[in-house]
Symmetry: C2
Subunit: 253 residues, 2 copies
């Protein structure tokens, strides 16, 4: 893992990094990270490691709860070259949208392929992060994501016992996701933008139902996929603070 830049503002250090072909970013509090939970953050399809919503959530988590947050570009996203097959998928989605045809079947296939490739990349990233002295092997680990980030997180959490809690947003649901959710028993928070125009709310409720987790919480809120309301970001940070063993600075009891 090579850090290629470091900037600091409002109490948050931002470091870009590369790890083989992976490009990523790590946010941490200037005040230090002793025993701080580490959050992995998965962006949506078509976006990148510094998607505005992802950055807003990351900065909120670092600033209010002292989390360390890492994000990496999905294959062919952000700073990474897109292969011809991915290019075809992206173009097919664009064409379907323009023609007002359903994009779900294409997005689902594309997401599954990207997630399969992203899982070992996240595992390598996690190894490298845990090798950093400021993080270490003891930091409790959570994963948060929306859309493509959910697919990746479901596949990752299924094979990666280091992940202790997940917070997910809206995603196109298929049987494979339902099946993956049914194998997970870790604490999960699931958000459904109730007025999303592309993703059917009932499929979100079905995915929430499928989680085998003893501790799960569903948040549906009026509004669309983006932007996520600030109070939902705050709720998500509190969820991680509850389950990753460090009380949020702002939590009340």
């Amino acid at each position: 893992m090579h850090f290629t830049s470091e900037t600091s503002s409002n109490g948050v250090i931002e470091r870009n990094f590369t790890l083989d072909e992976i490009t990523g970013v790590l946010w941490s509090p200037t005040s230090g990270t002793v025993e701080a939970p580490l959050l992995l953050s998965g962006h949506s399809g078509g976006m990148h490691k510094k998607a505005p919503g992802l950055v807003a959530s990351a900065l909120h988590g670092v600033a209010t709860c002292g989390f360390t947050v890492a994000a990496i570009d999905a294959p062919g996203h952000g700073d990474r070259p897109r292969n011809p097959q991915d290019q075809r998928w992206a173009e097919a989605i664009r064409r379907a949208r323009a023609a007002r045809e359903p994009i779900a079947p294409i997005v689902i296939d594309y997401n599954m392929s990207l997630a399969e490739r992203a899982v070992p990349e996240w595992q390598a990233t996690l190894d490298a992060l845990q090798a950093l002295p400021e993080i270490g092997a003891e930091a409790p680990i959570g994963y948060g994501g929306v859309s493509l980030g959910v697919v990746t997180g479901l596949m990752l959490a299924a094979v990666e016992s280091r992940i202790a809690a997940v917070s997910f947003g809206g995603v196109f649901v298929n049987d494979a996701l339902i099946e993956a959710a049914g194998k997970l028993t870790l604490p999960v928070e699931y958000r459904i933008p109730w007025d999303d125009e592309e993703i059917d709310r009932a499929s979100g409720v079905a995915l929430f139902e499928a989680f085998a987790s003893k501790e799960k919480t569903l948040h549906a809120y009026s509004g669309r996929h983006y932007p996520v309301p600030e109070y939902q970001r705050d709720s998500s940070a509190r969820f991680f603070a509850r389950h990753l063993g460090r009380a949020a600075d702002t939590a009340s009891d």
Copy 2:
């Protein structure tokens, strides 16, 4: 409105009151209530104005957000005599539970009757509360409740424009409630205990769907009707703080 007792502990003043045949309680912060939102709190059927969950939420709201919270006993509940018809309903519920028969049809009729009688009582209570110098006519007003408290709140909010936001928990749903929800446009938070044994989760989602509110948020969480997790109480206090125009002391941004 006559205050019959006053005690104080942990920064909260508790005053019992009577208003004609209504028996109630008012919690307020010892630090004062200038511009503090006023929350009306409706207990579940079979409980009373000092039900443990209601008190926990009230104390949380007073202590963390500086709210004033009022609760009154439903007709025939708490300190109020039960009439013969209510007695028959209560016994019918007890018999159905013991025989493992569905209680929903009885509970729904009983709730509707109680709520009809409770609405004018809440309105009289609200008039009396607003006449208190420490509350006044300008305090923003919210209503929170579970089960019977939801039915009452739906009926009350439909006729009472002074109520600006509502937070509801699980309730047996019928067509009249769905219809009442469809007429409400104020901000609403709705909680569904996902593993409740008596109340079907799908009916909760249907009730949430029905609200005509532009701002609505659904929280489903693993667990039963009671107890409500502490983080849900906290979320509810934040909901009222957001919508009643006073930032929670503990809110972050």
